[in-house]
């Protein structure tokens, strides 16, 4: 099922089946071009497929936006080791809820994408690593896998090609950190979910010591369409170097929050006004978190911007995972900073000191600050502690906690100062009650 009314402005490529009845069933999929792309791929050379992927300008939808075709080309083909395809469906970035719809409404599209990847890099095994809290999705994906086996699409001799491919589901146990690709591999191997050192990168040494292709669920889901329509046509949908469409998960103070498939480069203000029906209760826009909770906040005046990886980078933030959080004028930034840090503190894996101790300390300071026991030296301290994490932690979780915090404190310092004044003022109404 879908959770919001579609918008006429959407360009439906990977979400085209979401509204069909029984959309997760294999027959629905087959009736709508399903499994044509993999058949086409089996007639192509891996090099040709990678060229097609490169031409599509598809960039990783997990958050980093790395060019997918290039990533596929890194997997060594001349090796006596097995190669693995892993789908990262450990979707846990606050503000992001797209992989869940893709698995719920169109699991076969994902499986087909993984099959094409498997054929391309010479793999015989794929894993869908699903976030532990998405318990119900495991059943749906398992059912789709079973259907594919029943039809002979998976298993031995896929479509008579002589090539074997199996797909399994695997769940995380609820740790945000396990969405980081190397921690995901540790978790998949049954170990403690802490990140690995890179290099070696997973493409060379990934799961079980073997070359591994790891992509986000949405990335894999875009692959069948790319092969069907051709790389250049897909690229055309977006802006230069930012090919195709993506699912924007728009939440917050808008009239019609939801998941919308829009071309990359779609203007953020239009997204709010035209796709989501404008600000709720006619309030004014204050800020937008453009790509999941770890992306630095954009002030209202920065929001007239195309939503793609490069435009966001220019504004020193990230397109990230496509989680767009719209905030109106009443939003308490101090509370938002506190709540954001609470999440990262809770999810820090505990491996490296700046993140482990930094998030804990920051959370305590922000809690106290918000509750009204802040001190003026807290504001620079928050900035200092966040900057001590930025780029200096073992993995990106420290950055993910630091970046939004630095954004809040730099762009809305006045709000922090006002909060301090308000809570310290002996004449303030809250204190007079005492």
């Amino acid at each position: 099922m879908i959770y919001n009314e579609p918008s006429p402005l959407e360009v439906k490529v990977i979400s085209q089946r979401f509204t069909l009845p029984n959309s997760a069933a294999i027959d629905t999929y087959l009736a709508t071009d399903g499994y044509l792309a993999v058949k086409k791929a089996l007639g192509m050379t891996p090099e040709a497929i990678i060229d097609e992927m490169k031409a599509s300008n598809l960039r990783g939808r997990g958050g980093a936006g790395f060019p997918t075709g290039m990533k596929w080309s890194f997997v060594p083909r001349k090796t006596d080791k097995p190669r693995y395809i892993i789908c990262n469906s450990d979707e846990s970035e606050p503000g992001t809820c797209k992989d869940r719809l893709l698995m719920e409404n169109d699991p076969h599209q994902l499986l087909e994408g993984m099959m094409i990847a498997g054929w391309t890099v010479g793999s015989n095994k794929g894993y869908v690593f699903i976030r532990g809290e998405y318990r119900y999705l495991i059943d749906i994906v398992d059912r789709a896998i079973a259907e594919a086996y029943e039809r002979g699409f998976l298993g031995k001799n896929v479509f008579g090609s002589g090539w074997d491919f199996d797909i399994y589901t695997h769940t995380g146990a609820g740790a945000y950190e396990c969405g980081e690709e190397s921690a995901l591999l540790e978790s998949l191997e049954g170990k403690r979910g802490i990140p690995r050192l890179k290099p070696p990168f997973p493409a060379v040494v990934g799961a079980w010591q073997s070359p591994t292709l790891l992509n986000n669920c949405e990335t894999f889901s875009a692959v069948p369409a790319i092969l069907r329509m051709g790389g250049p046509a897909y690229a055309e949908l977006g802006t230069p170097k930012n090919g195709g469409t993506r699912l924007f998960c728009i939440s917050g103070h808008v009239n019609k929050p939801g998941v919308y498939e829009l071309p990359l480069g779609f203007n953020l203000l239009r997204m709010i006004d035209e796709v989501c029906g404008g600000m709720r209760n006619g309030k004014k826009l204050k800020a937008v978190i453009p790509g999941g909770s770890s992306s630095p906040v954009l002030k209202a005046q920065e929001c007239d911007v195309p939503m793609d990886f490069d435009s966001m980078a220019k504004l020193k933030t990230m397109a990230g995972s496509g989680g767009v959080v719209v905030l109106d004028e009443d939003t308490d930034i101090v509370q938002l900073a506190m709540r954001t840090m609470k999440f990262y503190q809770h999810e820090s894996c505990g491996w490296c000191i700046p993140c482990r101790e930094g998030t804990t300390w920051l959370k305590k300071i922000l809690d106290r600050f918000h509750e009204g026991d802040g001190r003026s030296e807290d504001i620079p301290l928050i900035g200092e502690l966040a900057r001590n994490m930025l780029g200096r932690t073992f993995c990106a979780l420290g950055d993910a906690a630091a970046m939004p915090t630095i954004g809040f404190i730099e762009k809305f310092r006045d709000e922090f100062e006002a909060h301090l004044l308000k809570t310290q003022d002996p004449q303030s109404p809250e204190l007079i009650v005492l």
Binding site: R196, V205, Q209, S348, G350, C352, I353, N388, T393
Partner: protein, 905 residues
């Protein structure tokens, strides 16, 4: 072995330094003498990048003024790298990391066992963090009971992950882990209980702060700066690990690792670390006695002299746990002809054979460092973990040697510990064990082969045969043996540095011969013999006559040094020996059954009160120095027995008089050695007892005791510079109060100590001054040997020694009788550590080991050799073989292996 390496230039603060590109910047900065703080990195454990403490600023080139912060431990020392340690941003970041760790670290330094030798304290001072901005409560954990060796105080933890990395990844332990996440990460067991790993005690030194501290020290606690130290050698197995022993007042307080790059490196086993407390035992003999009367030292010595003078037939019985000097002194007193080894012939002959094999080569015997770098290993008939524990830890590293090539191929730097471990996963190099029962190293073995001792020998012979057609062929091997032989042979043919380990545990000559044959037909192989005790080889250098021969000699008087004969031979034989001996003199430090038979007991020094030389299993002679000042009443055996002026005189007489021992003087500088005219102080310069220790008696500052035997002083005064490696009493350097100060004493990090690692090898590969093997063959060994090897195409130059030819026949189980073999226990089989209370808590009770089938026949208890014992199922015991724990009272003195019936109760 000189290894050619590229040298690159790294610029630190714009000054060039030559560095090893195969290493990381932290390793190289420390080697170059810089003070760069760190926590998660450990020289033996490599880099994982967890603590972020060693941050430095890296610059792209000389024009880059901005730079970026990198972790030195995660950055290769590649050519042209430019870094700054002093950079203010990097320095502030490092102070920030300490501040982060201090959020929860308690301010309990004054009452913490680690205080004064805490790496966290040192690093905190080094970074300059000194002001607390954190205004919240600290988190608290529940501590666990982890056994008699270690205290657990988790609140002090800074989560550097070193403990779990050492325990699980380096030492192979499974019952210790990291739990939970974020700032609640917890290191411990899933529930309270004794840590199972035999190397858990190293956590005391691996932990950079006071989470894991020495529980035996806690019972008689003293700060490091208030201890008096000596460089010593562990006496609790044959490996001769270097230890630093610390005492205060009249008790020995603790043992810590004393780095020796060739021997123990950074780690000890728990028996070596915690077994020292026998020195403080209530069973100590602190006063000499004549029959039951205490006797003064001068009178005692006079009595001994008179006794020797009036009994021209007096014999001397030496000991494998006494120093070379003490054994030599006895030999000199009674004459070489009347000096006996104090061990049964079944053991002595094997020791002599081992020495012959090592002398004639060509296989050299490896140091533990070389064991660690072996890339294919065969263990014949030894339960290494229980007999020579520290070697088992080296073997755990050796199985990584072949797989590490995978990492090299993938260009993963070898210091990137987790990168390498991800690449290797569970891959293990060839490691084969042939024993009569399961061992604690089976989990890393490629294949194990179980059989009676003779079958172990046959398997060894078969491997030699498969490698070379000159070696004799055992007939009728079983299928599983054949498969094992094939696996070992294939692995050995591929190996660059193959190693064969064998020893005297099963008292089986065939096993040792087979091991020799394998090592001789295998080019490049090394051969390591594990001997039973700390100076077994030293004793074998001094005499070839056994304890049985001493008994046969029917002497009227005997002098026994540091040896409980009741642990060597069955009690009735020892009883009858003592009964027919009119005069028995015993020199020892703990009461035992032998001392009860003595007319004269001389109170003798333990290793902590004595100076001398021990010869370890690789024939490395190593000097140990006492930490207690000389005492009138407690003297070293060689002092009771002779009139030497000091230790150097004994050494001079011995090295001139005993073949093979001429090199031992080089094991350490002589007593005359001075550094700029001064001695080496045993006490740290902050030692606070100088004027206080005797204040209840006199407020005068007494003259420090004189040490005639060593260049060490019983004082805080002396030359504060670094002494020669053999004389380092403790590791300390300005700003480095913890064990990590070792860094400052090495030529390079994890390399040799400055001036070379201590100890002198008495036999080098195949070039010893000893007797060629063929000539000894005739006198001691009826074994027919091939006088010259049949050279064939396959291995024409592979060897130049002779090969042993007599293959034992296959083991035949008997009807109603079992071959009882000895089973060893790290905690329990060793004589002296039995008197250490902490170790004593871990002894097994005596038992009879049977395989599952036999155990089912006998039930819970059975009778063997006249004793009723509980039955324990021991995996791997072949049909017809049973086992008894070695050295466990009341089973000590039983000569094993032996045939015996077993009956139901």
């Amino acid at each position: 072995m000189p290894v050619e390496i590229d040298v690159t230039t790294v610029y630190i603060e714009d000054r060039p330094y030559p560095m090893d590109p195969e290493q990381n910047l932290l390793h190289q900065c420390l080697s170059a003498g810089f003070n760069l703080p760190y926590f998660c990195w450990h020289p033996a454990l490599g880099s994982v990048g967890a603590c972020r403490q060693c941050a430095v600023k890296q610059f792209k080139d000389e024009h880059d003024k901005h730079g970026r912060i990198v972790m030195a431990c995660m950055t290769p020392a590649s050519d042209g790298t430019r870094i700054s340690i002093k950079d203010s941003e990097a320095a502030a970041f490092r102070a920030g990391i300490i501040e982060g760790m201090m959020l929860n670290h308690p301010h309990d330094c004054p009452v913490c066992d680690e205080g004064g030798e805490c790496h966290l304290q040192d690093m905190t001072v080094m970074t300059g963090h000194d002001y607390r901005r954190y205004r919240f409560e600290k988190r608290t954990f529940r501590n666990q009971y982890l056994g008699p060796f270690l205290n657990h105080e988790m609140n002090r933890c800074i989560q550097c992950y070193r403990c779990v990395r050492f325990y699980r990844e380096y030492a192979g332990g499974a019952d210790f882990n990291s739990f939970a996440l974020r700032n609640l990460v917890y290191f411990g067991r899933d529930k309270d209980g004794v840590l199972e790993n035999e190397f858990a005690g190293n956590l005391v030194e691996v932990c950079p702060t006071g989470v894991f501290t020495d529980a035996t020290l806690k019972r008689h606690y003293t700060r490091k700066w208030d201890l008096e130290f000596s460089p010593s050698i562990c006496t609790q197995c044959s490996l001769g690990c270097n230890i630093s022993i610390g005492k205060r007042y009249d008790t020995l307080r603790r043992v810590v690792n004393r780095y020796n790059g060739e021997v123990n490196g950074y780690f000890l086993c728990d028996r070596g670390r915690f077994g020292y407390e026998f020195v403080n035992s209530e069973r100590r003999i602190r006063q000499s006695r004549l029959r039951t009367e205490a006797i003064g030292p001068d009178a005692a010595k006079r009595h001994l002299r008179d006794l020797v003078a009036s009994n021209p037939g007096v014999i001397g019985i030496g000991s494998p746990r006494a120093s070379l000097e003490s054994n030599f002194a006895l030999r000199a007193l009674v004459g070489p002809d009347r000096f006996y080894a104090g061990i049964p012939s079944s053991e002595l002959e094997l020791l002599r054979l081992m020495l012959d094999i090592l002398r004639s080569g060509p296989a050299g015997t490896p140091s533990l460092r070389e064991v660690e770098s072996s890339d294919a290993v065969l263990v014949l008939g030894e339960d290494v973990m229980n007999v020579a524990p520290r070697m088992a830890l080296s073997l755990r590293q050796s199985v990584r040697q072949q797989p590490i090539e995978i990492a090299k191929r993938l260009h993963v730097a070898l210091w990137q510990d987790h990168g390498v471990r991800e690449v290797l996963q569970d891959a293990k190099g060839p490691f084969f064990i042939a024993t009569s029962s399961a061992t604690r190293l089976d989990d890393i073995a490629t294949e194990c082969c179980r059989g009676a001792p003779d079958d172990v020998a046959r398997v060894g012979y078969a491997i030699a045969r498969a490698l070379h057609s000159s070696s004799p062929e055992p007939q009728d091997l079983a299928d599983n043996q054949r498969a094992f032989v094939e696996s070992v042979t294939n692995a050995f043919k591929m190996a660059k540095r193959p190693l064969v380990i064998s020893g005297a545990s099963y008292r089986n000559i065939g096993i040792i011969r087979a091991a020799a044959n394998v090592s001789r037909v295998l080019p490049g192989a090394t051969l390591s013999f594990i001997t039973p005790e700390c100076n077994s080889f030293g004793l074998a250098f001094l005499t070839g006559t056994s304890l049985e021969a001493a008994i046969k000699a029917k002497p009227t008087a005997a002098i026994v040094i540091e040896n409980d004969l009741y642990r060597r031979l069955p009690a009735p034989e020892v009883d009858s020996f003592f009964s027919q001996c009119a005069h028995v003199v015993v020199l020892d430090h703990l009461e035992n059954r032998t001392t009860t038979r003595a007319e004269l007991v001389l109170s003798t020094a333990t290793f902590a009160e004595a100076d001398g030389t021990l010869v370890n299993n690789e024939c490395r002679a190593q000097r140990f120095f006492g930490v207690f000042p000389p005492s009138e009443t407690i003297r070293q055996s060689w002092q009771w027995l002779g009139e030497w002026e000091n230790l150097d005189r004994v050494i001079a007489d011995m090295s001139g008089g005993v073949p093979g021992l001429s090199g031992i003087a080089q094991a350490a500088p002589s007593a005359a050695f001075r550094m700029s005219g001064a001695k080496v102080p045993r006490e740290p310069h902050r030692w606070s007892g100088r004027t206080a220790v005797l204040a209840n008696i006199t407020v005068d500052e007494p003259k420090p005791p004189v040490d005639l035997n060593s260049p060490l002083s019983f004082s805080m005064e002396g030359n504060p510079d670094q002494p020669p490696a053999a004389l380092i009493p403790f590791f300390w350097s300005p700003g480095w109060n913890s064990a990590q100060a070792t860094n400052k004493f090495q030529e390079e990090i994890a390399g040799p100590l400055r001036g070379g690692d201590p100890g002198v090898r008495l036999i080098e590969a195949g070039q010893g001054e000893g007797i060629p093997m063929a000539s000894r063959a005739a006198e001691s060994d009826e074994d027919a040997r091939l006088s010259a090897p049949n050279r064939d195409r396959q291995g024409a130059d592979a060897f130049n020694g002779a090969l042993f030819a007599s293959v034992p026949s296959a083991f035949q189980p008997r009807e109603n009788e079992w071959l009882i073999i000895p089973l060893f226990h790290i905690f329990g089989s060793d004589e002296l550590s039995r008197a250490a209370p902490a170790v004593a808590q871990l002894f097994p009770d005596p038992y009879l080991a049977l395989n599952a089938d036999d155990a089912a026949k006998f039930g819970a208890e059975a009778s063997v050799m006249g004793r009723n014992l509980p039955v324990r199922v021991t995996p791997g015991l072949p049909q017809g073989v049973a086992g008894l724990p070695s050295g466990l009272p009341p089973l000590e003195g039983i000569m094993l292996p032996a045939w015996s019936g077993i009956s139901r109760i």
